[in-house]
Subunit: 366 residues, 4 copies
């Protein structure tokens, strides 16, 4: 398994299983001389944590009740509050791992999970909560993304990234108020839709089921010129980054799949003199990316999040010997992953942008 | 611009501009000892070529009328009909490049094209037909994909890959007959829909406009186990590969964006004893990939193709000095890219799979 | 600083400074299913540790007296004693770091050290014992090399690697008895020469000086075929691996620099029927590598180790403001690095071989 | 064989066999906006070509008499005399390939050559002059190095690189006059030694033998700060680059192997106020590199070149079936590779420096 590194210059390597001793990561290529505010990074980690509150202040039952502090411990690369140019190593210890929850399913492949495909690949089964394929792996992405954000804020003072849930189990957000996002358990920017989503999720939870969602991400303040033709296009790398998140099954930029029903005369974003936002475009069907390179317009993409595969309903499956059987999954699981994936999406998008921003330093020599 | 290499072991590096002397590529990591049938590769290249026929035998007006032979010339890596293990270098010369068609737009940024973002990145403008950002660049991908297919057919005798157009300008395919695909100008597997699509395209063409489309790709015969957690998941790399194709703006796997409206109990593919096709799954909402690793089920994904940006309608834009102006694009252009992108999609998907198949040789040591 | 990863499939990423919280590393690409004997890896780490005994049982004064347990803590990638295919993360905490020893030299550049070049590169100075440029960084290489050895022993049952000191301050080893190596403080395979070397080193130590050395490495049991033409030749990667060790300033294979005085008829290793050792060669001027690929003969190379730069003699230097000054280095330092570099050399060579052995799985498809 | 790419940002991928249709390469990551003087690059290629004159104007019999024009043909990446940021593709066609010279040795392994190790690796034999393992492969390195020099001259106006032969078959250069280098057939900077070397080589040639040599390379004008700790140290990458050249079997930096006999007080380069050359060091035992990073001093290294393996004397070997036999090599071969390797060394060193110079742009953010 040699796919645990992401990026070329800003290069993140992660390790760790859901029920092992510790998660961790190394960020290589982080430039020297930047002030590192660890508390800010910890805040993003806290956003990804389970056990959060709903919009009315009650405990959020749509996420797993596993209790992890998710505290980042920096081991290297920072000296007297500044990055030194050396690799930044950190760990996020596991503390609340209940491996016993999984012992009775050690020989069965959970439907919708990676159990079977991992077993076919490695002929070994770390049955404790998905091992490396667990969503818990994303904690390191969030921390690494926190470092990427620090770099982007330094290089692009107007940089701002905002992901939010725009659809859950058929209920869609219709308005966008950024201030609402952190006020409800779905991280939805539409207060009214959020309320409906919470109700819908509670209903699904009570039936032992789970549901899917769509998350949208908007990025402001990135200058034109990021992205490396032809294979490392900005949208290509964002797509890799997003689809590398376990539960995400699709991505679209700008007008996305609707583009299939549009004419060129509708789709092409006409250009005009620079407006106040720094963009030269009248519309944004391209989602801020043309030819795989940022064009100065807002970068917009949406991803679809599959329903949480761990449900308490009885399911049909097979065991390691190939015999058919049924299984019921216990343990503490999320109902809808969207709210916890929001910070992961922001993190991965920031890592892509940070890497391309550093790569772009070598695109021309004056 | 250091993004012109794709893959880790099966590694493709391409070069060449639409109106330069020649396109070309190097495939490094192709194993020794395989029989190479160049004519088969040339056939894929011919499928990508412009100037093809419609379903009624008339000239296909939906694609550019530029006349390129797109003939591959092998320069190295093959000796006495077999791969030697050495890098395979090849070129595809440009012969019908009309740079003059572009001289009058040298100072204006074409809407929907990469002109502006490239200029911001490199401060230089190769105005001859898009230069490196031209779709012509994909010819090398198709040829490299031909080599990937040879490898996959050797490693997985049941391997079969089929992309086809499933929607054009709002018209959707409703049936799937593989034999129809190469019989119409859209590469649509639904004969009746294809006819409607052709009529719709002719209508759009007559108005000087263009349109978008959706292409679906199905892959059979790939064994479970391909894909490298966590960042080089099979779906993540397919997403990068697809989004790296200029006109593609979105991708979804299996149930894709519909997953957002599904419950876990609906989405999870229940397992059963191995059926005749080698799959252990009753359904395929996952699109053949779980945890980023192939699960033995058919691999299915869909991509959206944006409308061709080169339209003959008058458009608003700016020039290199930032002044607003209008422009009308001349030259020979496609109306809908879907049919010509079909072989490109098959090629890029094959490259991803070939690379992951070779990587997978090191996943376990018995 | 994005050079902290080594290898392509067997991929090692290290982090950590000499006086930071912890060293650590991630090994990505270690195949699944191998039995991991951590104690064996710890033994190699112990060989690299300072504070060892001399041949007469007294404390070895030629190495630094810093007291580090160098205990490896595995964080991931191993489950029930076996590798899982997931990245192996580990840390080696620092426990005996005396940063105060360095505070008075924080503004001066130590001659022979990396202080000045690091400062020019990063404009920041981690003055605590060299930070990332400290030899302490090699502990992670030794641990990672331990994993590489486990893999090589599985793939090549005859595999055996032995490095030993063959020259110190002008005194040369003249015999080779493998059993002597771990019995003296220099790791020299010649008992008599070792005694002389120890005496010479004691003399140099008493004068506040240090000295250089030559170490030879012999590798048996590697089959022909490892090494990737043209840039990743086996000797090219071994050279990178060795020169990446701070104190090493040169490398030669087989007859090495003596080749300059040889004729082709002398140098060419004539071939014959396979002898008992599995080699088809009568001699070994090539050092077991031809065309950058192992030829089945014993792999032999020698490296030169520069004198330890930290000496207690007064030296001329400049400070961060560019003013000339003198300095005297305190702290606990080695006199000769050879004995402690021996396990590092074995480790790095093993990492190169493990990576190339895995890469070679894809060199041909039958 | 996936080792045909060198570099991370300035990335060179080469292909081609000695007797195939064409050699070629792709340089990815060359920045946009530089003036490209192809004739200058062609001049370096001409220096590597065989069939050159000796110091007295007669034909140089120490090099192969194969007659290749080695003309570079640029296919992409340059527009109106400037680099565009797109990958630079070029080919160097083979025109004087006499494959027949090799047909009688198709089944025997030539001693000192890569025939046997390649065959063990790939189970296929391209017997035409070594195929990919031929020295002819280095033509592409020289051309790519020409591009690297253009970049270095732009980034470091004082940049100057000079390699020269300092020892041949036991005869050593004792003086250094840069102007002499291109005046004799050995590329030796000592006029008198060069004459002796030429005589010695003529003697060796008359006996059907060949000989080894040492080449030294000096690089001026590189600022402090290039090199990426810890594995991509400047000396580590130069070592990989040099050892990747077929005939080179060793490298040493600065005082090199002599360091083994030196004391720390002798070896450490004491610092002083900046002299006229931009260096802060009184001596240069480190060869301009400390901690793997350039220190502003002249970069100096030496490599050993093995005797040409193709000799006309009768040799003992085995054939593909493992039977012992003798063989005599015909064809046109060099006696001593040093003079033709000089431009290859300069080229590879320039590629390393160009890549590290671009990487260094991201080492700190102000």
């Amino acid at each position: 398994m040699s796919g645990n590194t992401f990026g070329k210059i800003f290069k993140v390597t992660t390790f760790g299983e859901s029920h092992g001793k510790s998660l961790g990561a190394v960020i290589d290529g982080f430039p020297a001389g930047l002030d590192i505010d660890i508390e800010k990074i910890q805040k993003d980690l806290d956003r990804r944590k389970p056990s959060q509150k709903t919009s009315d202040g009650s405990i959020n039952k749509s996420v797993t009740q596993r209790n992890e502090s998710d505290e980042i411990q920096i081991l290297s690369g920072i000296f007297e509050g500044k990055s030194t140019g050396c690799p930044i190593g950190f760990i996020i210890p596991n503390s609340d791992a209940h491996s016993n929850d999984y012992s009775d399913i050690a020989d069965k492949f959970r439907p919708g999970h990676a159990d079977y495909s991992f077993y076919e690949k490695y002929s070994i089964r770390d049955y404790r909560g998905g091992g490396r394929s667990s969503g818990r792996e994303t904690a390191c992405r969030v921390a690494a993304g926190g470092f990427a954000k620090i770099l982007l804020e330094k290089m692009f003072p107007q940089f701002e990234i905002t992901a939010s849930t725009i659809a859950v189990a058929g209920i869609k957000a219709e308005t966008f108020d950024k201030n609402e996002i952190e006020k409800n358990s779905l991280r939805c920017a539409d207060k009214i839709a959020a309320k409906k989503m919470e109700e819908r999720i509670e209903e699904i939870r009570s039936k032992g089921d789970s549901c899917g969602a769509i998350v949208e991400c908007k990025i402001k303040g990135i200058k034109a010129g990021l992205g490396e033709p032809v294979f490392d296009k900005l949208d290509a790398l964002l797509a890799q980054a997003m689809l590398s998140i376990g539960a995400i099954k699709g991505i679209e930029f700008g007008s996305g799949f609707e583009s299939a029903e549009m004419l060129g005369s509708e789709w092409n974003d006409q250009m005009q003199k620079n407006d106040k936002d720094g963009s030269f475009f009248k519309t944004n069907h391209a989602g801020g990316i043309l030819g795989g390179i940022s064009n100065g317009n807002e970068i917009i993409f949406r991803v679809v999040v599959k329903p949480v595969p761990s449900i308490s309903k009885l399911q049909n499956t097979i065991d390691k010997s190939g015999n058919e059987c049924t299984m019921q999954i216990k343990g503490r699981h999320d109902i809808c992953l969207a709210p916890r994936i929001v910070p992961v999406i922001e993190a991965m998008a920031s890592i892509v942008l940070a890497d391309l921003a550093l790569q772009n330093l070598a695109s021309k020599i004056d």
